[in-house]
């Protein structure tokens, strides 16, 4: 069953800007799905329409088989949204934010109290339950938004750039939380600009650009299409100039570090042989950039000229 189905979804804003140009998209139940795209591509508009914050111009949205127009309450009950920016009442306590949200979804008080305790404990916020939310740190506020989105036990959780601007420690703890939530059966749709995040968490990916879906496949088959891998090599001895090797692109980053672009068919053994032949000793190597980031850039840049 599909957790989400979009059909010919369009959005034209009052100023004439066409944010979505008829997108079709299916997200399977239980999936951890990445919706990626550059700024202004239409991600937030699509999420806004799915979560009823933006009116669609035309097209349909179905959530677990419930049409968003015809079975509005049933469709909305399935969705939990974690928006990009903090949007809870900053004068409310953490506990009351969750209890109110549960109430909006028609959760009886006793169950709402149980769910609030469960979600706050899951997000490691139970100790902060009586704290006024404006006194929380940025990372805690993000976790409050995730807890709030989970309090009515949604079947589909939409996270719109949940880790934007948070430090790496909080980001990694949030990744772990998201994985746990997904493992418990909740379908997750994630938008992010951190492609490393999408690559390590998501099983399926869609890339949206200029209001159209330009790629939709599972992560592993998408990554398999990557032709060139980028590495950073740390050298044992300093180099004055970057070596020239046919078939590879090499740049000198520092006197003891090189950036190397290696085509898959070229192979790393051959690269190291060539470097050894030039008396260049490599002591360590790492991926220069995230692989998905490279693919993403390739897909965005390979659009026909008229679509820019």
């Amino acid at each position: 069953m599909n957790a989400l189905s979009l059909r010919n979804l369009t959005k034209i804003y009052n100023n004439g800007f066409e944010a979505l140009k008829g997108i079709d998209l299916d997200v399977e139940a239980g999936d951890f799905f990445a919706l990626l795209g550059p700024n202004g591509a239409g991600k937030s508009t699509a999420i806004g329409i799915i979560s009823s914050l933006v009116n669609a111009t035309s097209g349909s949205v179905s959530v677990f088989g419930h049409d968003l127009k015809r079975e509005r309450a049933k469709a909305k009950s399935c969705i939990g949204l974690v928006p990009q920016e903090v949007n809870f009442n900053q004068f409310d306590t953490v506990k009351s934010i969750l209890l109110n949200q549960a109430g909006y979804y028609g959760t009886p008080r006793k169950l709402a109290l149980q769910r609030t305790e469960y979600c706050l404990k899951q997000m490691d916020l139970w100790d902060k339950r009586d704290t006024v939310s404006r006194r929380l740190s940025g990372g805690m506020k993000r976790r409050v938004m995730i807890a709030r989105a989970l309090v009515h036990a949604p079947k589909l959780l939409i996270l719109d750039e949940p880790t934007a601007g948070v430090d790496i420690e909080i980001r990694r703890s949030m990744w772990q939380m998201m994985q746990e939530v997904n493992q418990q059966g909740t379908t997750i749709i994630l938008t992010t600009h951190y492609l490393e995040e999408a690559e390590s968490l998501c099983r399926t990916i869609a890339i949206i650009d200029d209001g159209r879906i330009i790629e939709h496949s599972d992560m592993s088959s998408l990554l398999a299409r990557l032709h060139i891998e980028h590495f950073v090599l740390d050298l044992a001895h300093p180099l004055a100039v970057a070596p020239m090797i046919d078939g590879c692109q090499i740049e000198r980053l520092t006197d003891k570090a090189l950036s190397v672009a290696v085509p898959k068919e070229y192979g790393l053994n051959k690269l190291f042989s060539e470097l050894s032949a030039r008396n260049i000793e490599v002591i360590s190597m790492k991926n220069k950039s995230n692989r998905l980031e490279q693919l993403f850039m390739d897909l965005i840049e390979s659009k026909p000229a008229g679509e820019q």
Partner: protein, 254 residues
């Protein structure tokens, strides 16, 4: 889907909001109206004598009570809903499976409750200065509730259409306060010269204050049936307009 839980959640949230900030919401009307009663009712009123057979203090109490109900029911909804928009926690409501009529009735109920609570506070203050014997409890309560409903709805529409905090202060300062003062709080419309009497008849607050005065002390300048027709008409019109704005997402959705 049980909408009564969502409605109750909204109303309780609204009540906690204005009680939490009681020095801004409940204390000022108590102080302001005590000064009104002291200066206009006691010091000046003793020299004015009676209007339509009622002592001046008794005559101004209903108008001052209802003026407080009007301004506070309006202020509650306009400030609460606009803050909800401004802080973007309106999104909590838009994402949730709450029908528009529940959102509207939740906020309006909050405004009615605050308006009536302030009305009770002001009435209690007035008892320090005069002994009011309620003439008709049914009319008194129904006019208070209907008036609070009209101005809660008006506050809701103002909040939806407002784009800045300035926009939510224009109507209370430049429309509600003048109309309330010109609505016969401190005088009988019969005391006005001809043309001003006619103009005053176009002020809906005049009808509300007079009907409330009739309920409280049995004195009125107008036919109180007109008040029920006017407030009923306003409630229906403003409710339909509010629901239209919510349905279209004007002022709250992109």
């Amino acid at each position: 889907m049980n909408y009564s839980i969502a409605f109750r959640t909204l109303v309780i949230k609204e009540i906690f909001r204005f009680i939490r900030i009681w020095p801004q919401t409940l204390l000022p009307p108590a102080i302001t109206t005590a000064l009104y009663f002291l200066i206009f009712g006691k010091l000046i009123g003793d020299r004015i004598g009676t209007i339509s057979g009622a002592g001046y203090m008794d005559y101004i109490v209903p108008g001052i009570v209802l003026m407080s109900v009007i301004s506070h029911s309006y202020a509650n909804v306009v400030s609460s809903f606009y803050s909800t928009k401004f802080q973007r926690n309106i999104e909590e409501l838009l994402v949730a499976p709450i029908p528009n009529w529940v959102i509207l009735s939740g906020y309006v109920s909050g405004g009615i409750i605050r308006g009536l609570l302030v009305g009770v506070v002001v009435t209690l203050i007035s008892l320090l200065f005069t002994a009011i014997k309620v003439h008709h409890i049914g009319i008194t309560l129904s006019i208070a509730v209907l008036t609070a409903t009209v101005f809660s709805l008006a506050g809701f529409i103002n909040a939806i259409l407002a784009e800045s905090f300035d926009d939510i202060s224009i109507i209370p300062n430049f429309v509600l306060t003048p109309l309330s003062y010109l609505g016969g709080v401190f005088y009988s419309v019969d005391m006005l010269p001809g043309i001003w009497q006619t103009i005053s008849m176009g002020n809906p607050i005049l009808y509300m204050i007079n009907a409330f005065r009739y309920g409280l002390i049995g004195v009125t300048d107008i036919d109180i049936q007109m008040t029920f027709i006017i407030t009923g008409g306003f409630i229906v019109t403003l409710t339909l307009f509010s629901l239209y704005l919510l349905h279209k997402g004007i002022g709250i959705k992109n």
